[in-house]
């Protein structure tokens, strides 16, 4: 069996209040995007491949799901026109369907299921037609049943009406209170009703009251109370002495000091009252604001500092580079190979000349002393593809993923202690998150100094 998931963005305008600019399928429910629930369910139902079709751009969905390797299922993508009927969409995707049984999730964002139930044999025995649905929002099957006998038990499967922020809030509350064990949810779950993500800092006097779901990279500062019935997204800071109860805090949100968020949805600088549907865009960043992961004045300042140092180094090293490189190439001590790496710019690649410098003789040592093997990389700092110092650039392969802030020099080179790639990655990641422009200047000096002592410079 295969699965086709069809969404029409125009049907979910209310979601744009909660997470503006996000595809509806990427809006999280209990910190798990809607699309992931569908992928889980498709696997439970015995699908081997999924095609996601949308009349909106689905680049973000494709970036999130990629080819489905994370779930061990093939995921592909296609676009449709807003005016396309279901038959037209199936016709357009006939190659994907290829006479197989197809489960079509049409225009639904979510339905209840239970991960412990047997959907595989149930779906294999069902005749074609609608399984769930109402008003053009259906879960249906095409093709003939595979199994001849009906499954003995009908597994739990029920629709959910999701037409407003209030219904979204009620659904999240229902999951949190009654159905946590029906789904695979993100985070560590050492005790019932409590899911906590990675890199979560909970200060000593902060209090967590179950049931709660807390995402990754969350800071809960002193005196705060989280819960009961709180869902905290990823990259969230809850400042001192604030309370978040019966509320949803979406990703990248800062909750200011001594605030009370109760029965609300907070998303960036927007506060939504699910009961009345009223939303308020806050103008006070110290009360409620969005946390920007990239960009902003700090990043701009960092880029300016990196750019200035890169220009200085380019100017200083120009003469040694022009003199030493031709000589070393003639001697066979300098070899260059161009490789494609992930760029610092999102979804971009950059071709970098990787130089191997063999330290034989004084001239090679001098070239290594000046880090001339990285000279051409300095220009990529000016074009924004690399930072001056950051994590080690990662070569583009089918499996590889972009690292945080690839740089000409790496923090691991500055620290000198990492013994293997994993150590280096940890050091690079730590500094990429915790660095500042002044620390970067010092770390670049250290990296330049440490590279002098390396055996072969690459």
């Amino acid at each position: 069996m295969k699965t086709i998931i069809i969404t029409k963005g125009v049907d979910y305008p209310w979601l744009h209040d909660i997470l503006p600019g996000h595809h509806p399928l990427l809006v999280p429910l209990c910190n798990k995007p809607f699309i992931e629930f569908f992928i889980d369910f498709s696997i439970l139902a015995g699908s081997t491949a999924i095609r996601i079709i949308s009349d909106e751009t689905i680049n973000d969905v494709a970036d999130f799901c990629e080819k489905g390797d994370r779930w061990g299922i093939d995921i592909s993508y296609a676009n449709s026109l807003p005016s396309d009927s279901l038959n037209k969409i199936l016709e357009k995707n006939s190659k994907f369907c290829s006479n197989e049984r197809i489960m079509i999730i049409n225009n639904i964002l979510f339905f209840h299921y239970n991960k412990n139930a047997d959907y595989r044999s149930f779906f294999a025995s069902l005749p074609s037609g609608d399984v769930l649905g109402f008003d053009q929002k259906t879960l249906s099957l095409t093709g003939s049943p595979v199994a001849s006998e009906n499954s003995r038990e009908t597994p739990p499967l029920s629709t959910v009406v999701l037409d407003s922020a209030g219904q979204y809030y009620e659904l999240a509350k229902d999951l949190l209170h009654n159905r946590l064990l029906h789904y695979v949810l993100p985070g560590y779950n050492n005790e019932a009703g409590c899911y906590i993500g990675r890199n979560v800092v909970i200060q000593k006097s902060a209090k967590i009251v179950k049931p709660v779901i807390i995402g990754n990279n969350v800071q809960i500062l002193a005196g705060s109370v989280i819960g009961p019935a709180a869902i905290i997204g990823n990259n969230v800071i809850v400042d001192r002495k604030s309370t978040v109860a019966s509320s949803i805090v979406m990703d990248n949100t800062f909750i200011g000091e001594q605030l009370e968020v109760e029965r609300k949805i907070a998303s960036g600088n927007v506060l939504i009252d699910p009961e009345s549907g009223q939303s308020l865009t806050m103008e006070d960043p110290h009360l409620l604001s969005s946390i920007s992961q990239t960009g902003g004045s700090a990043t701009l300042f960092l880029r300016i500092v990196h750019g200035c140092i890169a220009i200085s180094l380019i100017t200083l090293l120009l003469l040694p580079y022009l003199l030493l490189r031709p000589i070393l190439e003639l001697r066979g001590s300098w070899s260059t190979k161009t490789t494609i790496y992930h760029s610092a710019k999102p979804r971009c690649k950059v071709a970098l000349p990787v130089t191997t410098l063999r330290k034989k003789g004084m001239l090679s040592a001098l070239a290594a002393f000046f880090s001339l093997d990285r000279y051409m990389w300095l220009f990529k700092v000016l074009s924004g593809h690399l930072d001056l110092i950051g994590s080690r650039p990662v070569e583009v392969t089918q499996e590889s993923k972009a690292h945080l802030r690839p740089g000409v020099f790496s923090y691991a080179e500055a620290e000198d202690w990492p013994q293997n790639d994993i150590d280096s990655d940890i050091v690079n990641h730590y500094y990429a998150v915790h660095s500042n422009p002044f620390k970067d200047i010092a770390m670049t000096q250290k990296a330049l100094f440490n590279r002098i002592h390396q055996e072969d410079t690459v």
Binding site: L259, K264, L271, Q278
Partner: protein, 118 residues
Amino acid sequence: MIFQLDTSTDTTIGIALLQVRIDASNCNELQKAFSLWLQQSANIVFDCSALDFIDSSGLGTIVSCLRKALEHKGDLRLAALGPKVSLIFELTKAKQLFSIYPDAASAVASFNAATAGQ
């Protein structure tokens, strides 16, 4: 801002109709006006029916007005908070500081009821 005195009962109550927006740009104006209103009556109702937006400076000003009214042995009561303004009052816990009424008439009546009870 429109200010008027209600003298229909024994207690003189000031009723101020707040403007659409109170923020850093105009909160000083409210602060100054409130000092003048206090000279006419220590019991004041802020009619917020027209108020659509308030930021933290505006909220700080209203809290400071409450403090001044209490210092003058009076009270500041709020009436007809809109949903957006109400959200800010809930978020900052300012709702716990004020007596809030659905409309100006019931806020005025609450002063009179308190006087009658004494």
